[in-house]
Amino acid sequence: MKKELEHSFVTSLEKNQNIVHKICRLYTHDQESHNDLFQEITIQLWKAYPNFRGDSKFSTWMYRVALNTAITLYRKSKRQVKTQDFDSVMFRIKSDPYDDTQDKQLNLMYRAIKELNDIEKALVFLYLEDKSYKEVADTLGITEVNARVKMNRIKTKLKAIINP
């Protein structure tokens, strides 16, 4: 029974690991911290898994636990140094090679998002994952109206950062 549980969990996580990696990239600045956070999220997901009832999609359930871990439970290691080196290789955009301006804009946007605070990052992350405002509000524990208002403010803020 336990083996079955382990197997179904690891298989589901392996399939959906991109979600966790994306969160790790937003919330950490180097590979070591990325791996640390990935591991902590895995542990927390595994601890919560026996209570996962399957009435929602595994990926939907993952968003909450993973974001909760990144925002609240994870203790940033002291060794963590803020570095931009990791960031620059982190978002390689696969657009047309001659369209250099677009690449630059997207990289700028990525850097601007990384400068946001933890809560703003969570909002942007869920927006990028195409979640509805209702889901965003439910995940963060705020009202839908405020999620919408905050997201609009963040959009303006990001625009101002990349188009000074």
Binding site: N18, H21, A48, M90, L106, M109, L128, E129, D130, L140
Partner: protein
């Protein structure tokens, strides 16, 4: 097209440049130890509970507790236990209840709330111990001054100034310990929960 919309399109396509962990690599992680702040809070709280209870137990078991000689001293001591231990048990129960409520599948604000609540229980527990300890000692001293001055090598004819200095020193000791504990909290929980409090405030502000 809006920059963020463009970014969103790329973000959703993104995947090939992300790390890809194998089944075995993920499987191994299941057995690693968590280093989450909840675990830290749990251990620190456990130490705090054990510390304050053991102070009393050690004093009793090693016979360190001096014998007092004033009318009904036994009743006084037993009534202290009758107040102290039920309250301690209540704190432990309430800590256990709050700790169990910490749930990673809760929403972000709810999770933060239950962590803050759990920590508050422990904080109140420590303050209760401290206040109880000083109130109890204060009453005990008063009774001893009145009924058994020899306990302090006093002859009962000390001046008012003497008593004033004594009371002042008791108050200063209380202040000293309070500041010490306050500093301990600032340090331990400051490190652990600084980020949580900041994020909690941010969420609170959103709903104002």
């Amino acid at each position: 097209m809006d920059e963020l919309e463009l970014f969103k399109k790329e973000w959703q396509k993104k995947g090939e440049d992300l790390p890809k962990l194998s089944y075995e690599e993920i499987y191994k992680m299941l057995w690693k130890r968590s280093s989450s702040i909840v675990k830290w809070i749990f251990y620190i709280s456990l130490i705090e509970f054990v510390f304050w209870i053991s102070l009393d137990l050690v004093a009793t078991l090693t016979g360190f507790r001096p014998q007092f000689d004033f009318p009904n001293s036994d009743i006084f001591l037993w009534s202290m236990y009758a107040i102290f231990y039920p309250v301690i048990l209540y704190f432990i129960y309430s800590f256990y209840k709050n700790y169990n409520r910490i749930n990673t599948t809760d929403n972000v604000k709810g999770l933060m709330n239950s962590i803050i609540k759990t920590r508050k229980t422990v904080k109140q527990y420590v303050w209760f111990n401290l206040i109880f300890f000083f109130l109890f000692s204060g009453i005990l001293y008063l009774l001893l001054f009145k009924y058994d001055p020899t306990f302090f090598d006093l002859n009962g004819n000390e001046s008012l100034n003497f008593y004033m200095v004594l009371i002042l020193s008791i108050v200063l000791t209380l202040l000293f310990f309070s500041v010490l504990i306050w500093l301990f909290y600032r340090l331990i929980y400051g490190i652990l929960l600084k980020r949580l409090h900041k994020n909690y405030r941010e969420l609170e502000d959103l709903d104002l």
